[in-house]
Subunit: 349 residues, 3 copies
């Protein structure tokens, strides 16, 4: 994927200062760029790098006044950051998600329909009676179980496993190795101490614009649906148990785990390695800091929680500050006790 | 999968009040059911829903006395919960695990034998010299390495990876993406600070009725076997290291990790995100609460542990209760010190 | 894989006492070995087992003086442990990694080159314009995206997913289900509270002799590279975020998570379930104990950290020791307060 500076300036509706025939084949930060790369300058703090960068081209503002000569070709645009972002998106689309067509061998079950303009990699598997929308990209080794529905423009990366009856909206991204729809962890204890599996017949529903990270796991509902609402972003290795609901535009960072039947509101943020107990409700805009464990429902919106067990951030920070000095605290206490004991003896004597 | 109310009543050995020709195609909770669904009423607390439910049919007790008219068809049976559970299992078996036969392309290595009445999905891989029992379901993209043995009625879901020499019992379930038999994390430090891998030549043994969650990982033993005993249930994203033993009917919830050579007794319960250090022994019926970390062996049976590092639940709850008030504790301590200092000054003066 | 005692003695350059024609087909610990196995005796503490073992053969030191008769054949060598380790490596190479050739169906994209003497399992997928070195083993269901480079002698186990543009060095091991190169978790908040994905166009670079555990996830850089340096060992289910750098010969145990842009030095050790915040720098030889959470950069080399939030190990152990006795501490404090209040009343009266 190689373009000339002139071609890029055309796409960005910019003007060139320097050699329009220079070729660039990658994007880079201005402070790290080497020959062949294009960079951008938006934050004035980085301007010194402009005069030393090895980049072949740099996107700069129309209004930038140069203080020294620049070796790189310049592409002048209204908003350099926006221009660079356009190139980034174009690049990603081209390099990662530009695939179209069907590679062989691939498997398409009876009664399944697949929309136009998509991609099915070699060894991809689509079961029976599925409905796959337009422009859906299904990478190699992805498994789509029977009776699944997937909306337009969704990307299922390599080796993602979607169990039967899953419903996935439009413009979702499911990263490699993610598992959607595995059985909930439900077992009925028997009189002899053994366990009998409770049938898990529900499914998982991802609404539109949902992102699921690599090797994350989302269990189906025991009955009904485990639901990830519109725009929610789930990171790598997150565990979402049966009958959980994740609210709109809620973000769950890597390795967090949410136990069965818990409901998160909209616009919540869970940092990494957080654990939520089962059957909780978290109000909208709840934030939980990394490695915290929440065992109680949160009714008031906009709370920030920390600790395991978690309570409000300010109190948690203060308690942790004292925790470090516990040995000193104990020493001070012992001294008071000694003093008291001594003064009592003095009184008695 | 659509049945009439009459057909279902026949299966459950029940009697119908209402239209036997009504058709239902799914199971639902009585408070959430819509037209086309069948629900059940067992707990009297839910009886009010019976008079408002949109379910097409409800399974109720033979002895239930109606207080109002009911729109749904009723199927009266001895034990409504049991009846519903039978339908659940029937449904799950039909919808999820009813597959039989061999889809193509699939791979069967030299010298491997596969019993009758099973399923091998497209792109499933069975290596050389394997012995696969009767009625085993192997979903697409599952990999079974060389010389594995799998007992009757076991289910290996999509994309599970079973390394060579693994032994799996009968009626086990291995969920999508689980990895069984990867190398133990053993490295010998060298004089220059680098590490040399210690060969890991053991295997993993799952006894009968074991369940392994999605994307869980179980390492092979360095020598000998990592063993998961009969009836143990392992949840999603659990890590089980080399040479670990998990006792009979022990339950390990999601994202817990068990370090090398640790042995869990029978009937233990680890909640989510628990960590166990290596080379420990946990007595039968030990329970560890969520996010706890256990660093010492537990010899007495039936203990409940909490915290990181973990100690007994009651003491841990009490210590945590004080932890929250540490800033206040420090303030009280400071006041006593001030008072003492003041009284000392008074005495001196 | 069956050999005679004579053959093994030949390989190890040892001398046999006993039947050279005895056949062994596996390796075992001396205290667990049964007929057909070969064991070794190095630590004198284990000598009593030599006289009771059921092993068919035991590797012992040239200088060992027997105190009782031994049933097993003996192979006498200079260093029994070294001899056994040679057998272990030979066994592992033969049983696990001895595969060569190409199974069908497998997929090789346009413009990709694969060196000699390697293995490509059935259903393995190699995209376009890849360069795969000599003696590389690619197990079934592994996905290698477009434009990847993999060095000589590297092993990619079943179902590992390598995204486009990844660079992997020589003699690396990537275990089953690992995902390398998934998108970093970067989203720009929009005015309405929703998130827009930030294009992730960087890649992942693994240098030589790196090991990646089963179902671990390594995100690509937003721009530039996420880098795992020479000899680093990453365990199962570890999460490594975008733009992270892991130093040479650094070890990260299972289920640990490293947030975006954090740099670990050389020879560091993270125990299991550790969490590191983003944008940190950890000095060389930093050790972090299990389940700890590090939120600040560590500048001094060789520190040992514990706790969440983590501080130095010694202080953390002492603070934890007091933590357990917090209820008692509070009681002692209350008693001092009561005594003070009483003495004040006495003074007043």
């Amino acid at each position: 994927m190689e373009f000339t500076v002139g071609q890029i300036a055309g796409v960005l509706n910019g003007t060139v200062e320097g050699d329009t025939s220079l070729r660039v084949d990658r994007l880079a930060k201005i402070e790290e760029a080497r020959a062949g790369a294009i960079a951008f300058l938006s934050n004035p703090k980085y301007e010194p790098h402009l005069y030393t960068t090895e980049a072949s081209a740099v996107i700069v503002s129309k209004t930038l006044v140069l203080r020294q000569p620049v070796a790189a070709a310049l592409i002048r645009v209204e908003d350099p950051y926006l221009g660079f972002t356009m190139l980034l998106e174009f690049y990603q689309q081209f390099a990662r998600t530009g695939k179209r067509g069907v590679e062989q061998p691939s498997f398409l079950g009876q009664g399944s329909e697949v929309g136009d303009d998509g991609y099915r990699g070699a060894f991809s598997y689509i079961g029976e009676s599925c409905h796959i929308g337009r422009g859906v990209l299904i990478f190699p080794h992805a498994t789509i179980g029977d009776r699944c529905r997937i909306g337009d423009g969704t990307i299922i990366y390599a080796g993602a496993k979607i169990y039967a009856d899953t419903v996935i909206g439009s413009r979702c991204v499911v990263h490699a190795g993610a598992v959607i729809g595995s059985d909930g962890f439900g077992f009925a204890p028997q009189p002899d101490g053994s366990y009998r599996p409770i049938p898990q017949i529900g499914n998982v529903v991802l609404e539109d614009n949902v992102s699921i990270g690599a090797n994350a796991t989302i269990d189906c509902a025991t009955m009904g649906s485990t639901v990830i609402r519109e725009g929610a972003k789930i990171d790598n290795l997150v565990q979402i148990a049966h009958n959980v609901e994740i609210g709109r535009h809620t973000v769950v960072a890597a390795q967090s785990g949410i136990s069965g039947s818990t409901k998160l509101g909209d616009f919540c943020v869970l940092a990494g390695q957080v654990g939520l107990a089962g059957h909780l409700t978290l109000a909208n805009r709840t934030t939980v800091t990394a490695q915290s464990g929440v065992g109680k429902s949160i009714k008031e919106e906009g709370q920030v929680l920390q600790g395991a067990p978690a309570f409000n951030l300010r109190d948690s920070l203060r308690a942790n500050a004292v925790f470090r000095h516990l040995p000193e605290l104990e020493r001070r206490l012992s001294e008071l006790e000694k003093a008291k004991s001594k003064s009592e003896q003095t009184e008695k004597s």
